[in-house]
């Protein structure tokens, strides 16, 4: 049985093609924005009524559709919960802000589930390419420890990491360089020592640490 996790914007009718494209669907979870005027929530409610007419129960989940990291993590939690219950999960991008749509795509990619997109013009649902992506491939256990250290101690320096994790300076330099290359860590010059940098993890690093 399949659980469809769908994003919804202001157009509830976009959700129907997403549902029709999946056989043996069992439940629908609609992710909508917590917008002040409630337009997205009204659309999600209307989509829930449409789903009920198809004999499908739907649950609404409100998210900040402009917060990529929090929304992606919320979607990943839902995917894991449903997968743990031995359900096939499909993420369907059927509207919402660009950030909400990207969060849904990334959640699907990182959890390894199918992602479909409902075309804005034709209203036809199309599967998106599966991307082989695993945070474990990107973050080796050692690199993950370095990233966690930096996340928990913003402003730390490479020597702090070496000392705190009992790693060689060269090893730390290598991992920090790789983390920077992947946009997970940023550095700024240390005002007290121009040869050193103060490091911090970027917000989206959480997406890879949530394994």
């Amino acid at each position: 049985m399949t659980v469809v996790l769908a994003t919804v914007g202001f157009h509830p009718e976009k959700v129907l093609p997403a549902l029709r494209s999946h056989e043996d669907k069992e439940a629908l979870v609609l992710f909508h924005d917590t917008d002040a005027d409630g337009k997205s929530k009204r659309a999600a409610r209307a989509a829930r009524e449409d789903a009920r007419r198809l004999g499908l129960e739907a649950e609404l989940v409100a998210v900040d559709a402009f917060d990529l990291v929090a929304t992606c993590l919320r979607l990943r939690r839902e995917i894991r919960k449903r997968s743990a219950a031995r359900r096939e999960v499909v993420v369907s991008i059927a509207g919402g802000t660009r950030v909400l749509q990207a969060a849904a795509l990334l959640a699907g990619v990182l959890e390894g589930v199918r992602v479909t997109h409902v075309n804005e013009r034709t209203n036809v649902a199309q599967s998106l390419p599966l991307l082989r992506l695993s945070a474990a491939e990107i973050l080796s256990p050692k690199r993950r420890r370095v990233l966690l250290f930096v996340r928990d101690r913003p402003g730390c320096q490479a020597r702090d990491i070496a000392q705190g994790l009992s790693l060689a300076k060269g090893t730390v330099s290598h991992h920090v360089r790789e983390l920077r290359r992947r946009g997970l860590v940023e550095g700024e010059p240390d005002p007290d020592d121009s040869r050193s940098e103060r490091l911090r993890a970027v917000p989206s690093a959480e997406l890879l640490l949530a394994e």
Binding site: L105, V109, H117, S127, L131, G183, L184
Partner: protein, 193 residues
């Protein structure tokens, strides 16, 4: 010195100034809907490489964007929150595929993690790959099984799996690649890992 390239995905109503103000760059590229490239480029007021993409086709945008990014340096950044929904999603997929920074700049600027992912389904098994490789157009099931070098029952199981992934269409007698299937074929068969 590293030349920083900024790729801006945009449609007619988008603010072209904001991404240029927020992200530093030396060179500019503009991704625009088909038929709108020249008008948008002139609105920029500076020199830019222009790529026109099909505005309602995620896979078409993805293919075009992958081609563009393949020719740009590692220091490239892409502002992905402009354009149509299909353009934006295609741009995000291309960034994930090519290992390029994808930036959302509306509200709180945020960059997706730079992940080098291949558009390859790690879950595709040997039978599915063989069927995909043999599926160069509309084929009868038996013919497809022969071309894939598989017994018919195994080929049918692989077809079913590919159909579930949206890569293959089929009826009682024939199978054919969908747009997504053609994309996979290009990635998996023509350019193997």
């Amino acid at each position: 010195m590293t030349v920083r390239t900024l790729v801006v995905v945009a449609a007619a109503k988008d603010d072209l100034a904001a991404p240029r103000r927020k992200l530093g760059y030396d060179r500019l590229a503009l991704v625009a809907p088909e038929g709108r490239g020249r008008a948008l480029a002139s609105a920029l007021g500076e020199e830019a490489t222009v790529l026109e993409v099909p505005p309602d086709d995620v896979l078409g945008c993805l293919r075009a964007m992958e081609g563009l990014l393949a020719g740009l340096p590692d220091s490239t950044r892409v502002a992905v929150d402009g354009g149509t929904g299909a353009m934006s999603l295609g741009a995000v997929l291309a960034c994930l595929s090519r290992g390029v920074e994808a930036w959302f700049l509306e509200h709180k600027p945020v960059c997706l993690p730079v992940l080098r992912a291949m558009p390859v389904a790690g879950r595709f098994g040997g039978d599915e790959l063989a069927v995909l490789a043999a599926l160069d157009g509309r084929r009868a099931h038996g013919d497809l099984a022969r071309r894939a070098g598989l017994p018919l029952a195994r080929a049918r199981a692989a077809m079913l799996s590919l159909r579930r992934h949206g890569a293959l269409g089929s009826d009682a007698t024939q199978a054919w690649p969908t747009d997504l299937g053609s994309y996979y074929r290009k990635a998996l068969v023509e350019k193997p890992d």
